[in-house]
Symmetry: C5
């Protein structure tokens, strides 16, 4: 949510990088100009080719990150759609005399949504949300799955017996959906075979959707691709301030700044490096769309929306409020 990050927000978010890049470009400039080590002025030709390779691989990584994020959102969109369809089927298939069976099926579905979002927000070693620049950003918003516990959140949705049963299980979302299956098949006397089949198909689809978000959660952007990108990027970043020395030194020829324009190397090498580094940071920050970061898929909000829509189908009156963005960040 929110329109765009401002230039300033970006600068602040990446300020640690900027400090490092400044130091990195000051060193060769000082050595060149003050210490007179002019032989440090690297030829630009291999750096330019390296730059092309870096641009390619960073672009490739960003593309993959974007696709991961977008697929994650698509899957959660699928959860919305199938939940609505599941809702009307449960409501309209059960004959009037069996209406008391509807509510447990609806609420167990909310429990499944809850278990799923807690599982997705668990930390992984390859996630970035606890890096310095991201952690600091978390002061302006809250991650609901870190403020509460699954046990607490499941309470209102399940009977006591099921509640205790589910908490003993390895993968709670999977076993909650298995309970839905058991319940539906136990309704064999009031539903006809077609209706049973359609509801079972819905469960198959929920398992499919659950498995697909778990895949995105558990299978990161491959470590070898990710590592080669980082290594090349850093090599490039180190070489740039050496490669631009001669260019900037030559820039001032014939002007009153002659001999001093080499100092332009500091802001411009930093700028160029910052551009490439920021592109990489952006991709990195979307590669894991369930880590609790500011650009996550808003799974808490979506889960709540489904709850509202489904309870609205039952004409319940005390609908919970939607989850709204805090400082333009929607969880």
């Amino acid at each position: 949510a929110g329109r765009k990050y401002t230039f300033l927000e970006f600068i602040i978010w990446t300020r640690r990088d900027i400090y490092n890049l400044l130091i990195l470009s000051i060193i060769p400039t000082v050595l060149y100009h003050v210490a007179g080590f002019t032989f440090l002025a690297l030829t630009w030709v291999p750096i330019a080719l390296l730059g092309t390779a870096v641009a390619f691989i960073v672009g490739f990584k960003n593309n993959a990150s974007y696709n991961r994020l977008w697929e994650a959102r698509q899957i959660y969109g699928g959860i919305i759609n199938n939940s609505r369809a599941f809702g009307v089927m449960v409501r309209d298939f059960l004959p009037a005399g069996q209406a008391e069976e509807v509510r447990p099926l609806f609420y167990r579905h909310f429990a499944w949504l809850t278990a799923l979002r807690f599982q997705l927000r668990e930390p992984r070693t390859w996630e970035n949300v606890d890096q310095a620049n991201n952690r600091e950003y978390q002061r302006v918003y809250i991650i609901p799955e870190r403020e509460s516990t699954l046990a607490q959140e499941l309470l209102p949705y399940l009977s006591e017996e099921e509640y205790n049963y589910v908490l003993t299980k390895k993968n709670r979302a999977t076993q909650l959906m298995a309970l839905q299956s058991k319940h539906i098949n136990a309704l064999g006397s009031v539903l006809n075979d077609f209706q049973l089949m359609q509801l079972q198909t819905a469960i198959t689809q929920f398992y499919d959707l659950q498995g697909r978000v778990e895949r995105i959660k558990n299978f990161p952007y491959p470590r070898n691709f990710s590592s080669v990108a980082t290594i090349l990027l850093y090599l490039f970043v180190v070489l740039v301030p050496f490669g631009l020395l001669k260019e900037f030194n030559a820039m001032g020829q014939g002007t009153f700044l002659e001999g001093y324009t080499v100092w332009f190397n500091v802001p411009f090498a930093t700028l160029l490096n910052w551009v490439f580094l920021s592109l990489d940071r952006v991709g990195e920050s979307s590669a894991n769309p369930f880590e609790g970061g500011a650009n996550d898929v808003p799974i808490t909000n979506i889960s709540r929306t489904i709850e509202i829509d489904m309870r609205d189908m039952l004409d319940e009156k005390d609908l919970p409020p939607p989850i709204v963005a805090i400082h333009n960040i929607l969880m």
Copy 2:
């Protein structure tokens, strides 16, 4: 609709950008030539590399925008196809004696289409339709969903009872489709189980299609990707007029314009910047395909087409006219 925007239309649409770019390129040229600050002539090398990065990221964004637009159109195409298939099923499944049930199902479907298009045309903070250049363009066409209200448009399609019920709901499209489900399941005595299942499947698919357009509406091109593109583009645009100074100054050597060709910097730096900026504008203007802009997916037209086709199936005589393009813009 319409063949292409003319060069002039494009110039007019982006004229505010052009003014700014002209100023941006006049400043360094004046400082260089009039004030003699020749040291301002930046070396082109880092700018060229920056330009490559900008081209990459703008291209990436345009690609994503195009895919969003195209997916949006695909989904609405899916709504057409499924509506026709739903139409013939409802018409041909119901036995001759139950023909009076057909019309309410058809008209409630039109109500769903209407609720959906009103929801999709609601404004979002990240949409561009109210920017100066777009707002001015809106004088030449009308956005039907802003000229009327949902309550007004739903009236002809629903019974009074349902009309009042639906307007109390959070997500009207969702609950209208839920009413379809209820109605179909209530027809259990005149339809066989196979027919019920097929109609229920149709409802599941409409929920799927609805959810997918809602996803495109509610999940914009990610803010971090979008912001980094804008920031890099603006950095590039600011640097270009400095970077071309020396080139254009050198251009006139040996001709009678020697010393004055630096002024070519003004039109050409502006031109180059305008090209990159326009590419970005084009992508930006298609990223949100339901905002009411001139390049939107024509959802009003499509909804009307469906209504015509379905009423034609019932051999109704007073078919509404199709929605046509106004000044080549189809809503």
Copy 3:
């Protein structure tokens, strides 16, 4: 069909472009060499960057065009596959005593194919088939849908009553398929529910396939993307002959052609521009794969193939001949 266009065919097809490009490159060369306006020699740096941007956007457009063409062919492939499957189901589901119901269903299907291809070959404002270079090319082949009328072609396939009914309808293909649905549901006494459901599903799929080709027909490559590509390309084309002046002038230094090599600018600027323009033309000429152009999806041929295959299933003896390529162009 056919292997490749020869170089000569290409030259002839684009000869109008070549005339214009020649004039465009002669003008600055004459001004430079004859009139001595050497200051016209533009610096190449911004043009090179512009060229990169143009290459990107033309590539993007060609990619989109190719995808539209390929998707169109995929959909028509889907029509083939589903028609065959529909054919065997109709033939084998109906009990021996009801064989006289098979033929009307088969022939109404051919009517649907016919109505669909006539609808797809109707002109649209954004299509290119009536541009000078394409129109001239049409002398070597015929577009069957322009040589005949839908009314004429439908005659052999429909009963008189249905024939008259269908011609009063807005979207004939849609209503023909609706007649199939009505017929199938009327066979409820000789088909079991499973068979009815499978045939109804086939109709749903034909609606899906029809809607998808209609989408490609009615939703062109977006006007804003298309326009920006054309504008940038033309800007580039205008600048190239100015940008190469200095290079070609310098080429002859120290040879006996010194001072005259600037005239190489005429063939080479034309060549370079022609390359970019031809790339764009190729994309443009495949963006609308149902316009009746030489590179269209061969929908007349495919419709005939389906008719042959389906009538062959009934062991009919007087199968129509396949549509063959005329001058290597398959319609």
Copy 4:
């Protein structure tokens, strides 16, 4: 199969190109150095831009070729999967007393696989397999569909009556599958409606898979895209040896080879051209994945694998041997 082509195999495969390229680069070098036509040294700037365009379009074509090949393999993979699923259904659905119906259905399926692979290996005008360099390569392997005839191969799989019937048909694969449909529907008394429906669905899917490989066979990479790529590539190849003359001439300055280094133009222009030409050849050689070339989808092998797996399901004892690679080429 097989790891990689060696450098030598590649050189041999493209040796005709290499001869031509050598001649092409010797001509301008001789004219430049021996005849002293130094004005032939073209400026590199437009050639570099042309090279970028060529790289783009060759890349685009290779990408499309690769996708065609990969899709072809995916479809044949789908045939494997559906054949196995069809096999177990036929075997396990038929009651013990009807086991004699299983074998004809299995063997007719093998007949369908055989008819399909013969149809796919028929020549098309746009295929490359009979070009000189490919034809020569065919000496090291055999294309089974050219060593035998369909009539011969079908014999073991069909009853005499069906055998004669099928050979009179236009599209044998289509009509073989139609026979499967007829047979299955004739089993209505021993199979229940669910089983009939599932087997009919399998037939629909086989039609879908057949149609998709036929699409790849019959709809080549579009002629206009293919032609523009070839033309641009050849233009580039002709210009390169002229464009490198000056560079190589300058290379020797100050060394004892001064004045002779222009001869480096011959190997290096040839090398550069060969690289681009080979990239194009690779794409070209995968664009038609059923032409009988060394990089084809191994459809003979796959068809045999299916036969083995299905006969193994019946616990047959005399399973045929798998098709193995000959000189690392798997057909």
Copy 5:
């Protein structure tokens, strides 16, 4: 698993390449500087163009590799999802009195998973896992499918009769799934037709998933694409150290290192070559995602996860432990 490879790990992994590259760049430098063969300094222009072509083709290959890896993971994700759905169906469809039928179906499913992963980990000629640099890496982790045998692993899952039967079969996974089909169809008296159909559909899907991973296993990145990439890359790598000689020699002009900076050629040509070679290595090492390499899809782990989840559905108590990463490598 694990965050990233460190720079050092990468260096060690590629150290053989680095040795070769060092030698490759030392040779021309020594010849140039020591032997005075200055004519060896190749002009950079054709190398730069070659570099672009190499970057393109290596990028293309990495993209294809990444897609293969990702698709492989998606398919195995699909196996997870369908296994869970299959599990609840088997458990909940069978009436209470038939619970003893559940366990064999579950355990035969684990047998299928086991047979599949053993088949996928069999070596292929085009795989890289036994190259020197990868083999050495295998000391830090174990490939479970190489430490045990299929026969051993299948023992706990199958009855003795089935165990012996399956081991006689060609494709064990296929025939295990065929046994599932036979078992399910034999349950016809306790399951209704809808339930049978749904379970049969699950088997069809498992065949589909199995066939898709087998496709990735058996159809490598095409040999011609792969070979041309390797050849171009090696040509480029050989030329680079010659092409940079002049640049680095010129670098020291006017500094006290004049005449010696040509030695910078050794580290920088090596660095540049290493970058391109490493990019290629990364792609190569993910192209075959079931070869037993460090970046494989973790199929042992996934199979175990499925076993845990499914046994947890039966409330079994002695669940096996999950497979965990060894030195951050998950098998």
